[in-house]
C-alpha cells in the first residue's frame, strides 16, 4: 500500500513502525520510564516504550500509576520536553587554542544522526514550532538548531485523554495535531488498533515499508472521538485576550500576591518547552591554553539574569514573575507572532508550590477594581 501526505491507514500497534525505523538506521528518541516519570530518551526497540501507565497531574503534583492494561500512550507530557534535544541544556559552541601570536577558534562539531522524535504530542509540535521562530528570527539563525531540526523526523501521537493540568484546547495548540508531523498515530483502544496519518513524503517513505490496512469508517470515528474526549476533558483554560490584558496590568497589586508564594526556583522555565533563555560560560583547562565556550539554559527567575554593573534590574520575585508571565502570554506575541505558552501544563505540575498559570492569568482578568497603569 503506497502512502502520500494526507493518507490514512490502520496498523495493529506501533511496534512494527519502531522496528522499521531502527532497521532503517534512525536514532529513535521517545518516551521512557525513568525515576517514576516519563522522559524522552533513546529507544532500542518497541519493548522500551512504557505501557499501561497513566499520569495524575495537578498543581505541584505528578504521579504515574497503572492505567488500562497494555495501553501505549495514555499518559501525556512529563517533566521533559523535546527542547532538551533540539536546544540542549549544555552545549559547546566553540573552542579556542592559544597560538604563538594569538589564538585559533574552532567551531564545535555537532554530531546529530538522522533522528526520530517518537510520540510527540500536539502541544509539543506547537512548542517546537515556537522555538523554530526563536532560533531563526529573520536577522540571525542558529545553524546547529536548524540542522538538528531538519534532520529530525516527527512521529506524533494524538492525545486520547488530557491531564488535569492540560489546557492546550484554549491555546489552539491541541489536543489534535493537524500538521507539523511526518507521521501521526492515534491509539484506538477499543479496536486494539492505531490510526496512522501520513504527514509528509519523508513519513510516506517509512510507512511504505509497513503492512497497513485501509481504515474503516469505525476507525476514523473512533479517532475523532479520542481527540474530542481529550479536548472535552480539559478543566483548565486560558482566559481570553490575555496578551492585551497583561499589557495594562504591569502595576497590578496581584503581582505581589503571586510573589508571596513564588520561590523564584526557575522550575517553570526549565520544564517549559518554549523557554529559550541561555547563559554562556567559558571553561579553561589548567594550562590556560585551551578554552571552550558553552551555552547553558538560563532562567529569568535567577538574580544574575538581569545583572548589569551595579546590580540586577529585576531584584524582586514580583518583577521576575511578572517578566515570566508577561513574556509567555503577552510580549511573546510582539516578538514572535504567537503566544509563548502552548498549554502543556508542565509549569503547573512541576511548580513546587503549585502556582497555576491559568489561575494567575485569570486573576488579572477578573479584578474589576484595579486597572493598574
Amino acid at each position: 500500500m503506497s502512502a502520500d501526505a494526507g493518507s490514512r491507514f490502520v496498523i495493529d500497534d506501533p511496534s512494527a513502525l519502531v522496528s522499521a525505523l531502527l532497521d532503517d538506521g534512525w536514532r529513535v528518541l521517545g518516551p521512557r520510564l525513568r525515576d517514576d516519570a516519563i522522559v524522552y530518551d533513546e529507544i532500542t526497540g518497541p519493548g522500551d516504550l512504557p505501557r499501561g501507565l497513566i499520569d495524575d497531574q495537578e498543581g505541584g503534583h505528578y504521579r504515574l500509576r497503572a492505567g488500562r492494561e497494555a495501553s501505549w500512550f495514555d499518559y501525556v507530557v512529563g517533566p521533559q520536553s523535546w527542547k532538551k534535544w533540539l536546544f540542549p541544556a549544555r552545549q559547546k559552541l566553540w573552542s579556542a587554542e592559544k597560538t604563538g601570536d594569538g589564538f585559533d577558534i574552532n567551531p564545535a562539531a555537532d554530531d546529530w544522526p538522522k533522528t526520530v522524535f517518537f510520540g510527540v504530542r500536539a502541544c509539543e509540535i506547537a512548542a517546537i514550532e515556537v522555538q523554530d521562530r526563536v532560533f531563526d528570527n529573520g536577522d540571525f539563525a542558529d545553524p546547529g538548531y536548524r540542522q538538528r531540526r531538519a534532520a529530525t523526523l516527527i512521529v506524533a501521537v494524538q492525545c486520547a485523554r488530557s491531564a488535569a493540568t492540560c489546557f492546550c484546547a484554549s491555546m489552539n495548540t491541541g489536543p489534535h495535531a493537524d500538521s507539523g508531523f511526518d507521521i501521526a498515530l492515534t491509539e484506538l483502544a477499543d479496536e486494539a488498533a492505531f490510526l496512522v496519518e501520513c504527514g509528509s513524503a519523508r513519513g510516506a517513505a517509512i510507512l511504505d515499508r509497513l503492512e497497513m490496512r485501509v481504515p474503516e469508517e469505525g476507525h476514523l470515528r473512533a479517532a475523532e472521538a479520542a481527540s474530542k474526549n481529550a479536548a472535552d476533558s480539559q478543566t483548565r483554560r486560558m482566559v481570553d485576550d490575555i496578551p492585551n490584558l497583561l499589557r495594562e496590568k504591569l502595576d497590578h497589586p496581584h503581582w505581589e500576591v503571586v510573589a508571596d508564594a513564588c520561590l523564584s526556583c526557575a522550575n517553570c522555565t526549565l520544564v517549559c518547552p518554549t523557554c529559550f533563555c541561555s547563559d554562556v560560560e567559558d571553561v579553561n583547562d589548567l594550562t590556560g591554553d585551551h578554552t571552550e565556550r558553552w551555552r547553558t539554559w538560563d532562567s529569568c527567575f535567577t538574580a544574575d539574569f538581569s545583572y548589569v554593573h551595579g546590580g540586577s534590574v529585576r531584584r524582586s520575585t514580583k518583577s521576575r514573575y511578572r517578566q515570566w508571565l508577561t513574556h509567555k502570554l503577552s510580549t511573546w506575541h510582539d516578538q514572535f507572532g504567537s503566544s509563548g505558552c502552548v498549554g502543556c501544563g508542565r509549569c503547573i505540575a512541576w511548580c513546587p508550590v503549585g502556582i497555576d498559570i491559568t489561575a494567575e492569568a485569570a486573576a488579572f482578568a477578573t479584578d474589576p477594581e484595579q486597572s493598574g497603569d
Partner: protein, 283 residues
C-alpha cells in the same frame, strides 16, 4: 520544512582581530583600535556595538566609538568594571581578541538632516555618541545646528577632553561641558547636565531639535523632561539603553525590555517608544 544552507555562518562565532594600538583615556578607561585578522573590515552605523571577546575570560557588549566613515579603524572605549572589561583594558598592541558584530539599531543621524542636532551625554555615554558626532561634524552643512551637552562627575572623568576642545574651536558647534564636582583647576561649569541642557536649549527653536541621549538612565530621564519642557517634539528624541547581554542576536533573552530585545530592537530607541516602560521599576 526548514532549509539548511551548507555553509551557514554561525552568529555566535567570533572573528579574530588584532590590537593595532591602544591608549589610556581616563583612569580605568582605555581605547583600542582593532584590525581584522580574518577577512575585511566591517561597516557599522553610529550607535551600534560589538561583542568583544577576551581569550579565556569572556565576552561583553562594547559600543563602537570610532568614525563610521572610517570603518577600517575600529575603535572601542572600555571602562574596567569587572573581569572581562578589565581584560579588555589590559590589551597591548599586537594582542588578539574576538569580535562579533556590529549589532543593534543606530542613531538615525543621517535621516535627521536639516535639523538642529542636540547630543546629550553623561560619563562614558559619550563613547556611543561619538560616531554620530563625527557624522554631523563631517556633514555640518546638512544640519541647522549642532549642540553637545556633556557632563561628567569630575574634570578627571571627562572623556575625549582634548578632542572636545577641537570640536569647540569650530564656530559651527555649540559645546557645553559640565562637571558635578569641580577641582581647583576647573574653570568650566559645575552642575548637572540638565541645567546645562536648559541653557543650551534656550536659544534654539525646539521644533527644529532632534536629540540623541546616552548616559545613566537617571540622567536620560531628567534630560528627556527638559527637552519636553522646552517643546522638543517627543518623536525627535532618541536614547541608548543598556541591559545584560549574552548573545546580541535575540537568542539568550537576557536583554529583554518588555517586548523589545535591547540587542536587536535597540540599543538606540526612539524615546516615546520605550517611555511607558521606562517609567516603571524592574521591567
Amino acid at each position: 520544512m526548514l532549509v539548511v544552507q551548507d555553509q551557514e555562518p554561525d552568529p555566535m562565532l567570533p572573528r579574530r582581530y588584532r590590537v593595532r594600538s591602544t591608549w589610556a583615556e581616563l583612569a580605568g578607561v582605555t581605547s583600542v583600535e582593532l584590525t581584522p585578522v580574518d577577512g575585511a573590515a566591517v561597516a557599522f552605523r553610529p550607535g551600534q556595538f560589538n561583542m568583544l571577546y577576551a581569550f579565556g575570560v569572556g565576552e561583553i557588549a562594547i559600543s563602537i566609538s570610532g568614525d563610521p566613515a572610517e570603518p577600517q579603524r575600529l575603535i572601542h572605549t572600555t571602562r574596567s568594571v569587572g573581569a572581562v572589561s578589565a581584560a579588555l583594558t589590559k590589551l597591548c598592541e599586537g594582542d588578539m581578541l574576538g569580535v562579533r558584530g556590529p549589532f543593534g539599531s543606530a542613531w538615525p543621524v543621517a535621516a535627521e538632516t536639516g535639523r538642529h542636532i542636540v547630543f546629550v551625554a553623561g560619563g562614558l555615554g559619550l563613547a556611543p555618541l561619538r560616531p554620530a558626532i563625527y557624522h554631523v561634524l563631517e556633514h555640518r552643512e546638512r544640519y541647522a545646528g549642532m549642540t553637545l551637552v556633556y557632563g561628567a562627575r569630575s574634570p578627571d572623568e571627562l572623556l575625549y577632553a582634548e578632542e572636545i576642545k577641537t570640536w569647540k574651536s569650530r564656530f559651527d558647534t555649540e559645546i557645553e561641558v559640565t562637571v558635578d564636582h569641580a577641582n581647583p583647576a576647573w574653570t568650566g561649569r559645575v552642575g548637572v547636565v540638565t541645567s546645562c541642557l536648559d541653557r543650551a536649549l534656550a536659544g534654539i527653536d525646539p521644533a527644529m531639535v532632534s536629540a540623541f541621549l546616552c548616559g545613566p538612565e537617571i540622567m536620560m530621564r531628567f534630560s528627556v523632561m527638559s527637552l519636553a519642557d522646552a517643546g522638543v517634539p517627543p518623536d525627535r528624541v532618541w536614547i541608548s539603553m543598556e541591559r545584560n547581554m549574552k548573545c546580541a542576536i535575540g537568542f539568550c533573552g537576557h536583554c529583554q525590555f518588555g517586548p523589545d530585545f535591547v540587542c536587536r530592537d535597540g540599543p538606540v530607541f526612539r524615546h516615546d517608544h520605550v517611555a511607558p516602560l521606562l517609567s516603571m521599576k524592574e521591567i
